[in-house]
Every structure is written in C-alpha cells, then in structure tokens.
Symmetry: C2
Subunit: 215 residues, 2 copies
C-alpha cells in the first residue's frame, strides 16, 4: 500500500517520460517501476534502437495475419505448416495458442498439422465456446478431412472442459482421437513428482520396447 501511494504521485519531470512509462506498464507483468527502468534504459541507447522497437511493434499489428486453415500466426494467408506438402493434413493437433505450436515444432517430432483454438473455455474469464475457433474445427471433421485429432490442451479444469466439449461434437464422426502422454518428465526424479502425474504414469505405462525407440 505504501509503495503504491508513493507511485501515484510520482513526478516524472517530463510528460513524454510519463507517457512512455504509462504505455509500457500496460504490458502484462510490467509495473510502473519496471516500466520506468526500461524507459530510462531506452533513453540511454542510440535512437536507432528505439525506432527499431517502435517500428517492429507497429509492423506486428499491421503485417501479421492468421492462417485461414489453422489460425496460426503467419505472414501469408496460409501458414508455412499448412502449406508444407511433407505434412500429413489428416492428423490435427489441437492447441490453445501459438506458443504451444512453437513448443511442439521445436521437438521436430510431429509431422501433422495444427488447429489453434485461441484459448480454452473458461466461464470465470468470460471465455465461452463461441470465442474459440471450435466451429471451423468441427467443420474440418465433418468434411471428412481428418483421420486423427490429438488433444494437446493443458490438463487443467478449463483444458479438460474444452477437450470434452470438442469431443462431444466430433464423437459421432467416429474418427481417432488421442491426447498427448502425461507422465514423469524425461530426466525427472520420481520422488519429486506429484501423485496425480505419477499415478497416471503407472496406469498408462507403455511396453518397455517402446521406450527404446527414442526419436
């Protein structure tokens, strides 16, 4: 409370400084104090750095498009992944957002395509099924363009709800569905794993020979 009060009456000595701090502190996880530190840092750097940052931010909003097929970030109407002829378009991995695509792409283990929902059903945050790109996913299944759907949402209450909601809609089309494997992370110690994860990893154990097939 005390620190908060101190900051309310902050004298920034310049309205341009104050403005920059206010705009910067709109970003998530950046408070006024951090914003001030960042802005004063920029002030010490050559003008080119600030201009490049400003330019990059403007370009971000004006130039970036979203793939018409999978809703991934893209510079073109159809993203690189959906355009890749080497990929199996009939296997679709459902993820929450772009970062999940990047994470999975980084593993180089997946050769199907994606479908980005843009979030998960969360009544508390005011996100309903209508706010997510579920209709276009169901349409893909309906058109018979899908062999397998991989659910890769986070295993939270919201993630599970979203999985179930989608599952109910595509159930009748009798396609293969799967979820990514949950278990003890590679290299993790058993004693530090939580009970739910450890329990599932025993229930969903895999044949030993499978574990030898790394990559």
């Amino acid at each position: 409370m005390y620190i908060f009060c101190t900051f309310v009456g902050m004298n920034y000595a310049s309205k341009y400084l104050e403005n920059a701090v206010n705009e910067m502190s709109q970003l998530p996880g950046i408070g006024k104090r951090t914003a001030l530190r960042l802005v004063l840092h920029l002030l010490k750097q050559p003008e080119s750095q600030t201009t490049a940052l400003a330019r990059a931010l403007v370009d971000l909003k004006t130039e970036i498009r979203f793939c018409k097929q999978c809703h991934n970030i893209s510079d073109t109407d159809i993203c690189e992944i959906c355009n890749d002829t080497q990929r199996n378009k009939k296997i679709i991995c459902i993820v929450e957002d772009v970062r999940d695509v990047m994470a999975i792409e980084n593993t180089s283990q997946y050769k199907g395509v994606y479908h980005i929902l843009g979030g998960k059903i969360s009544p508390i945050d005011g996100v309903g099924p209508g706010d997510l790109s579920i209709t276009s996913l169901v349409k893909k299944v309906e058109e018979g363009a899908v062999d397998e759907l991989i659910f890769a949402l986070s295993s939270t209450m919201e993630g599970d709800t979203t999985n179930f909601y989608i599952y109910k809609q595509i159930e009748k089309y009798n396609i293969k569905t799967s979820t990514i494997a949950r278990g003890i992370g590679v290299g993790d110690e058993l004693e530090y794993a939580d009970e739910v994860t450890l329990g599932r990893s025993i229930l969903h154990r895999v044949p030993f020979e499978n574990s030898l097939k790394v990559n």
Copy 2:
C-alpha cells in the same frame, strides 16, 4: 544450456513476430521468452494500444531534453525544479540518476536543487570521471553559486569513490558538504539490520528532540 539451444532454433512462424521479439528482448531483464509473451499479448490487444506504445517510445527519444543546469530529464531547456523560484539554488544534492531525483522529490522534504552525475566512477564498467557531469558541478562551486553540497550517491565502493573524487576537487572552496543520513529505516526491526548500518546509526546518533520533529 538446453533451454538456450531450444530457443536458438525457435520457429516464430512470422518474420514480423520474430523481429518484434528480438527488439523487445534487447531491453534489460527481458529474455526471449518474456519478449514473446509480451508481443503475443500486444497482438491480442486493439491496434491503438500498440500504436500508442510505439508513438510514446519514439517521442521519448525525439522530445525529451536534459536540463542544462542539473542534467535532469526535462521537456524544456531548464527543468521544472531548476526553474522553481521557491527552491534554494544554493543547496545542491548530487545524485546518480533521474530515479534518485524522483525518489527524493516524492518525499517532499527537499527544497534545494539537484545535480545529476549520470552514474558513478566504476573502472570495471569503463566509467571514468570524464563520463560523468563532474566538471559542470565543480564549475558551479567555483563560481560561488553553491552554499552546500549534499552527497546522495549509493554507499557502495563506486559511490564512495565518486564522492571522494568530487570532494577532493571542491575541498579548496570551503563550502559546506554533507551526506544523507545512513541508519536503520523507519519502521525496521533492529535485529534484522546489518552490522555496518546499525553500527553507523549508533555512531551518528542524533539528539532525541530531533526525532520529535517529524516533517
């Protein structure tokens, strides 16, 4: 090392996204992962927010000036503090940077003016006396425009060195010099104070009546 490697080959799906992340991660304390989070947040916000941020950053570099007298940040050639006729121009408080001015101004306890050095002497970081605005400070003293100099640099090796360097140069003019009081913070518990601070607070104890004069 693993996380680092993972990020080097990150597939951003868009060169505009990658560019924005790279520029954002130039800021101190913002890594690629945080930069990505911030940039994806901006992507979800209305375009006006990004434009406002970009505009504020450009304005920052083009519009902000530094006060010709005290080197404080200012929208004008002479800053508000130096222009304030209510303030005693003959008492100068020497501080490292603009944030220190803001912190002291916030207390509303100081009615003199400031002199911002722009750092402290630190050979390790390649900062010598020539990189700081010491000459202009000595000139003020030389011209007889100063009654008292208050040293308010941080009490580190570098801060003490800088204080001493300045002191040596203005010693001969026989003006009053002081440093801000070091001691146990108001509201702090004695048992958690470090020995040096507690030791100094006993050595530099003040008459009890003084403690009654709060503000």
